[in-house]
């Protein structure tokens, strides 16, 4: 049996899901819950130093510390077994709360047995977890599915105690892959994994743990790791599995090498895909109709894409009485058929993507299946066994020698884009070879937010006016997806609540959405807003923050330090166009402009343009912000101080205020229409 560690850094593999080899739903032979309680458990003595410790030697400030945790995986004729063990030291009262109760969940295929625990006091006394401390509850039971929870609360627990607990999970059958979390919300001093005798022919480790040591003993193996700090997520970080230690055991396939396995999976997916996308006569005929007159590849593919997305009802999104019967009947179809999808005019997401593939093939393009992982789950999948993470499918089409990736079933995603979590990811183009691409990311110009405000300010600092916000690309897609299951009333209510978070006195009325429920772009929202106290009183003057749309926003990256890299979902741009009419009798008091911000590489940039139309007492303000203008949205942790400083500068510029003051002398003439006079530039930027 071969075992292998693949040491990782950022941008390598990720999550495995627990998948068992399917077994007949028959008797679980030989799996009988062992007696719970101390009688069945043997414990190793706790070192005196650990009993006496008052804080963690290597993770100071920790409320509790996992001194030792382990997993042991083995297989017998009866099934697969995992034994888990934990030893935790408590340093503070918070630690008591964190460790106080434990529970283990199991589904109907799993049996939990040999639950045992004990508390070791600092003076060496031992309090055993007895049967009366252990409770089993059926969490949920529906038909044959059942989930149970075994819970226990340690007796007599206090600061300084060491808690130990263990249990065994057993299930009939083998596994194709099984994942074990190593790193936790508490620091872990020592972690051990044992691979016992396995019935399946060989197993391969797949692991992400920087400080691990693997030792093989013939058919078994042990892995240890030390001093794993408590894992705590940070804002805008890559997916946690990129950095949180875990271990996966993957079933081996005889003597196949990693490369062989990749080829095998790639060809397997390719073969399945081929069978699913054969264009029949009806599909070819439809393609002919759709592409009549289309000149370029772009136009052809867009017609096919739009047809599949807009003319084929997507069962994953739509639920109406008219389609209900067919929709449910379709759940029983086991073999995809583009012809059937076309004829029915409806299908599930996979059906729609297959139809597109079949149509593209019928139009003469080479098509393949693309397989990738979501960027919210994992980033790097190209290493050994990375195929186990590739659970997202798309259609790869070769256009002019370049492979492009499409998913028309993505309900709101326009042609030429993918959902942001499918962008900038490694995609396996399934074939009899292993071919990887990286899906492109939409440029910032594709996700543009344009916000227009026309306001008037009164002498008490109340701002009132009309706003229009429009969104394209990812910003629009996200808003539509999030609102899909909300009524119009709830959308309006949430909109007001969101605005109130940064402008608590804001009164919003006449909210009107366009394209919220359709695929058209841009998505726009118009509303009327009144904000008492918007301008801050400063004696006889008013301090006016011009950037209505940024006022009250928190500054990003407030933390002084950073542990993990930074990853933004996508590139985007914002353009704000604001006009504010000052109250009668007020004038600008020595204006100044916010400073532009740029990093020189077009990663982040913010420019501002201010003007003042004296005849109409109107401020004009334009803000142009771009993140990822050069396509870069991920940054190493070393970049954090620079990034933080940039965002602070942007924030300072965004919240730039001007002072206005009452005019001392003659009455002010009636204001002319807003655009009658060219704007007078404000004092050049300082």
């Amino acid at each position: 049996m071969r075992l292998r560690i693949v040491p990782h850094s950022f941008l390598q593999h990720g999550i495995a899901c627990l998948r068992r080899v399917a077994t007949p739903a028959l008797v679980l032979l030989g799996l009988v819950a062992a007696p719970t309680g101390a009688q069945a458990a043997t414990w190793q003595p706790v070192p005196l130093a650990d009993l006496a410790a008052t804080e963690s030697a290597w993770s100071p400030g920790a409320a509790a510390e996992v001194l030792l945790s382990s997993h042991e995986l083995s297989q017998t004729a009866n099934g697969t077994h995992v034994e888990q063990y934990f030893r935790v030291k408590i340093y503070t009262q918070t630690g008591v709360e964190l460790v106080s109760k434990r529970s283990v969940e199991a589904d109907e295929k799993e049996i939990i047995s040999a639950v045992a625990g004990r508390v070791v006091k600092p003076d060496g006394r031992i309090v055993e977890l007895s049967k009366e401390h252990i409770f089993e509850t059926v969490e949920k039971k529906v038909g044959a599915e059942k989930r149970t929870r075994t819970s226990f609360a340690f007796p007599d627990l206090g600061v300084g105690d060491v808690v130990e607990y263990r249990w065994k999970s057993s299930y009939y059958g083998g596994v194709s892959s099984i994942r074990f979390p190593i790193q936790d919300s508490l620091p872990v001093r020592d972690y051990g994994f044992k691979l016992g005798s396995m019935r399946d022919r060989g197993s391969i480790y797949y692991m992400h743990c920087p400080s691990a040591k693997l030792t093989e003993f013939g058919l078994t193996a042990e892995l240890t790791a030390q001093n794993l700090p408590a894992f705590e997520e940070e804002e805008n970080m890559p997916p946690a599995p990129e950095f949180k230690a875990w271990l996966t055991v993957v079933r081996a396939y005889g003597s196949m090498t990693d490369a062989d396995i990749w080829v095998r999976f790639s060809s397997y997916y390719a073969t399945e895909f081929e069978a699913a996308v054969r264009p029949g006569g009806a599909v070819k005929k439809k393609v002919g109709e759709l592409l009549g007159g289309a000149a370029s590849d772009e136009e052809k593919l867009q017609r096919l894409y739009d047809f599949c997305q807009r003319s084929i009802t997507n069962y994953d999104w739509v639920n109406s009485p008219e389609i209900r019967a067919e929709k449910e009947k379709s759940r029983k179809e086991t073999v995809p058929s583009p012809s059937r999808t076309l004829e029915r005019g409806a299908g599930w997401s996979d059906d729609i993507n297959y139809l597109f593939a079949a149509m593209a093939r019928a139009a003469g393009y080479k098509v393949r299946e693309g397989r990738s992982a979501s960027r919210t789950e994992i980033v790097g999948v190209r290493g050994a066994n990375g195929h186990i993470f590739l659970d997202r499918k798309c259609v790869a089409v070769e256009v002019g020698g370049v492979w492009r990736y499409f998913k028309p079933a993505a309900y709101f995603v326009p042609f030429g884009m993918n959902q942001w979590w499918d962008e900038s990811v490694a995609v396996l183009r399934c074939d009899d070879k292993v071919l990887f691409d990286t899906t492109p990311a939409a440029p910032a110009t594709a996700s543009q937010t344009k916000r227009t405000g026309r306001f008037a300010l009164d002498a008490e600092g109340t701002l009132e006016g009309d706003v229009e916000e429009s969104y394209t690309g990812h910003a629009a897609i996200n808003a539509k997806v999030v609102s899909w299951e909300d009524s119009d009333e709830d959308v309006a209510k949430k909109f007001r609540e969101q605005l109130a978070k940064r402008l608590p006195t804001a009164e919003v009325t006449a909210i009107e959405w366009t394209n919220l429920r359709t695929r058209e772009m841009p998505l726009t929202v118009k509303y009327h807003v009144r904000v008492p106290g918007y301008a801050a009183q400063a004696g006889s003057r008013l301090a006016l923050a011009l950037s209505f749309f940024e006022t009250g926003q928190p500054v990003a990256f407030a933390a002084a330090e950073r542990k993990y890299p930074i990853m933004f979902p996508y590139s985007y741009g914002e353009y704000d166009d604001i006009r504010i009419v000052l109250p009668e009798g007020y004038v600008l008091d020595k204006g100044s402009a916010p400073k532009p911000v740029a990093d020189g590489a077009n990663t982040i940039s913010a420019t501002y343009k201010l003007g003042y139309l004296p005849k109409t007492r109107t401020f004009t303000y334009e803000r142009d912000f771009t993140l990822g203008g050069n396509g870069v949205t991920s940054f190493r942790v070393e970049s954090y101080p620079v990034l933080k400083a940039l965002f602070e500068k942007v924030h300072a510029s965004d919240t730039h205020s001007l002072l206005i003051k009452p005019k001392a002398s003659a009455p002010v003439p009636a204001p002319a229409p807003a655009d009658a006079t060219p704007a007078t530039p404000v004092v050049p930027q300082s």
Partner: protein
């Protein structure tokens, strides 16, 4: 046709049916569902996600004293958000209750719709928060994924349960518009119903009918009242009817207990808990050890209160039908385990106090809308919590002390709270009605609302020194009472990293870019004051204004205590939580700086609260003092605009700025 042929035909039929892969069509919805589904939706419910066409709770008392509860519910889905209403659940207690029927239907255009795949009712744990075991369960089903706009979802459930008390109550307080909201009560021959209490803003609209042994109360056409911020207790309480079920004389001994007055309720509770307070040598020794250094009774009480409050909260809810939901575990057992629920902890406290010569009692309380406990209906069903009432003499001068007839001067204390120390009460209990459990206690006791200026004070002091472009300084925040409890919980339940992040976020709302250097806390277990002190640096403080100087914003401290009301319209009364927020900001200016413009002082006085701000500049230090006081008050809907105006004026006054003049360049 021969039997063999018939059998064969049947077998073939079965095979055909099985091979079609279809589950049997759902039974047709019963007539009462179709009748309600045929009702039209009134135009007045516009905006609601769904309209309840019928909500009926039918209690049938069975001759053996058990009660069969049948619920019928019919709801029409009106918009996307309404799909979530296509769910049903029925609660029951494992082993004691028996779920007799669970049915659900989907009706569209007057016809029953068979759901796409067979729907089964899931059996789910309904454990309360903090419980590691709970007999409470529910059966639940959802049609959320298949329901369409305009569909009618209906369900009927029936559960037979053993009654602990011969009392039932029905509350009309729906949030969705409801056409028919009905409570039916049927008792066997020889039994009678005593309506013990009726209350609610719409109780006068209740239609009551009596037909033989059956009584029906019905409220029609209730409006749509979705959740809103800061809803007052009982904001949606349309009506409440509480009924005692009186058995015939010959069954009185075996029928569920009905407390005819509060004394009977207290007696029952007392008997139910008898013996649970007994101690043993270990417990007695612990009591003595914990109070060894205590000079007086108050010190002993305080020492024991801290011990019990730190005991872990773990609930194990068993034998509820036998009254164990009201019976604490033995004090000796709770002590040995080191955990318990509210009644366990309160009982342990009573036991420990008795060991050191201090008498105490359990008291039943209600943590949700405790001010609405109805004194006209003696019933333990009105309570969900247990606290402690400790007898003290005149030398003890703490706030939550009430003279209770028959028990004397009692100090009330919540042993479950880990953050509200002795002398304080969690806000949810202040003003609520409790029953002290001792034999013959005839009434309820109203717990005091603790004085705003000593228990609801939130104090923040910010001292900054301007240093060129930035500032350094210290922020101290906290207070006694609720503020102390909040910060105590903050330290207890958050890791150090989480605490730092929270402080950065909270301080960063006003002081953009503030960096926390260090933070620490002080906690006074006697006064209950807890304060957090933060050393900070603000790299960019103020905005330079060429030709003017520096603009410094003064809305630096946030307004977490003030509810936000983004909606212009309001349907339900508002419940204000009292608070006295005091803020002092001192900004020391470098040499040569002057204040060019100072905000104007503001004074606001309204029935909802007051606000004042004052600004001063002396000895190079700008001093800003603000005080906001919110009263403990229910604000009727008609005054919503006035309340919003007050809070808006507060926000306006907070959003003030200083203009500083920098010294001329040398």
């Amino acid at each position: 046709m021969s039997p063999r042929s018939l059998g064969l035909a049947a077998l073939v039929g079965l095979v055909v049916l099985a091979s079609a892969g279809l589950h049997a069509a759902a039974p047709a919805a019963p007539a009462w569902v179709l009748e309600m589904a045929a009702r039209s939706t009134p135009s007045t419910v516009a905006g609601a996600p769904a309209v309840v066409l019928l909500d009926e709770w039918n209690h049938e008392v069975l001759p053996d004293g058990r009660v069969a509860l049948t619920v019928r519910h019919v709801v029409r889905i009106l918009n996307r958000s309404g799909a979530a209403q296509a769910r049903a659940s029925v609660f029951y207690r494992d082993k004691d209750d028996s779920v007799k029927a669970t049915n659900a239907w989907l009706v569209r255009d007057g016809k029953t719709v068979t759901p796409p795949k067979k729907r089964e009712w899931a059996d789910v744990s309904a454990a309360s928060i903090g419980a590691i075991f709970d007999e409470s369960r529910k059966r639940a089903i959802s049609y959320e994924d298949v329901v369409c706009l305009g569909d009618v979802f209906a369900y009927e459930t029936r559960v037979e349960r053993r009654m602990l008390f011969g009392q039932v109550q029905n509350v009309w307080h729906c949030s969705l518009p409801t056409l028919v909201d009905r409570f039916v009560l049927k008792v066997p021959p020889g039994w009678s119903c005593e309506v013990a209490a009726r209350s609610g803003t719409a109780v006068g609209l209740l239609k009551e009918t009596v037909a033989g042994q059956t009584r029906t109360w019905e409220l029609l056409d209730r409006p749509y009242r979705p959740d809103e911020p800061a809803m007052a207790d009982g904001a949606r309480l349309d009506a409440l009817v509480a009924v005692n079920l009186v058995p015939p004389a010959e069954s009185a001994g075996s029928a569920p207990f009905v407390p005819r007055d509060w004394a009977a309720a207290a007696d029952w509770d007392w008997q139910n808990s008898l013996g649970q307070c007994d101690t043993d040598a270990a417990l007695a020794a612990e009591a003595r050890k914990l109070t060894a250094d205590c000079a007086d009774p108050l010190a002993r009480i305080r020492a024991l209160s801290r011990y019990v409050q730190q005991l872990r909260y773990v609930g194990v809810n068993k034998n509820l039908a036998l009254g164990h939901g009201y019976r604490p575990r033995k004090a000796t057992e709770v002590f040995a385990r080191g955990w318990g629920d509210c009644k366990d902890k309160a009982n342990l406290m009573v036991a420990l106090l008795r060991e050191v010569g201090i008498e105490a009692f359990l008291a039943s309380a209600q943590t949700e809308e405790g001010r609405l406990v109805n004194p006209d209906w003696p019933s333990l069903n009105q309570f969900n919590h247990a606290i402690v009432a400790i007898r003290v003499d005149d030398t003890v001068k703490l706030e939550p002390i009430v003279d209770v007839p028959g028990a004397g001067r009692l100090l009330f204390f919540d042993a479950t709270s880990q953050t509200a120390l002795l002398g304080d009460l969690p806000w949810a209990l202040q003003g609520s009605k409790v029953q002290v459990i001792f034999p013959g206690n005839k009434g309820l006791t109203t717990l005091p609302v603790l004085p705003i200026d000593r228990f609801h004070v939130f104090e923040t002091k910010l001292e900054l020194e301007l240093t060129g472009a930035g500032a350094v300084g210290k922020c101290t925040t906290g207070g006694p009472g609720r503020a102390g409890a909040f910060w105590r919980g903050f330290a207890l339940w958050k890791t150090e990293k989480e605490q730092r992040e929270y402080l950065e976020e909270r301080i960063g709302k006003g002081l953009r870019g503030a960096q926390i250097r260090e933070f620490s806390a002080t906690d006074d277990p006697v006064t209950g004051e807890r304060r957090v002190a933060v050393d900070l640096a603000v790299p960019r403080f103020g905005q330079p204004m060429p030709g003017v100087g520096l603009i410094v914003r003064l809305d630096l401290l946030g307004r977490d205590n003030v509810p936000a009301f983004p909606e212009l319209e309001r349907r339900l009364p508002i419940g204000l939580t009292p608070a006295l927020v005091r803020e002092t900001i001192r900004i020391r200016l470098p040499e040569g700086y002057a204040v060019e413009e100072m905000p104007k002082a503001v004074q606001l006085q309204t029935p909802y609260g007051t606000y004042s701000s004052a600004y001063d500049f002396a000895e190079r230090t700008v001093v800003v003092q603000r005080t906001l006081r919110l009263e403990d008050r229910t604000v009727p809907v008609a005054e919503y605009a006035a309340l919003r105006k007050f809070l808006g004026d507060v926000a306006k006054a907070d959003r003030s700025s200083l203009v500083l003049r920098q010294p001329p360049a040398q």
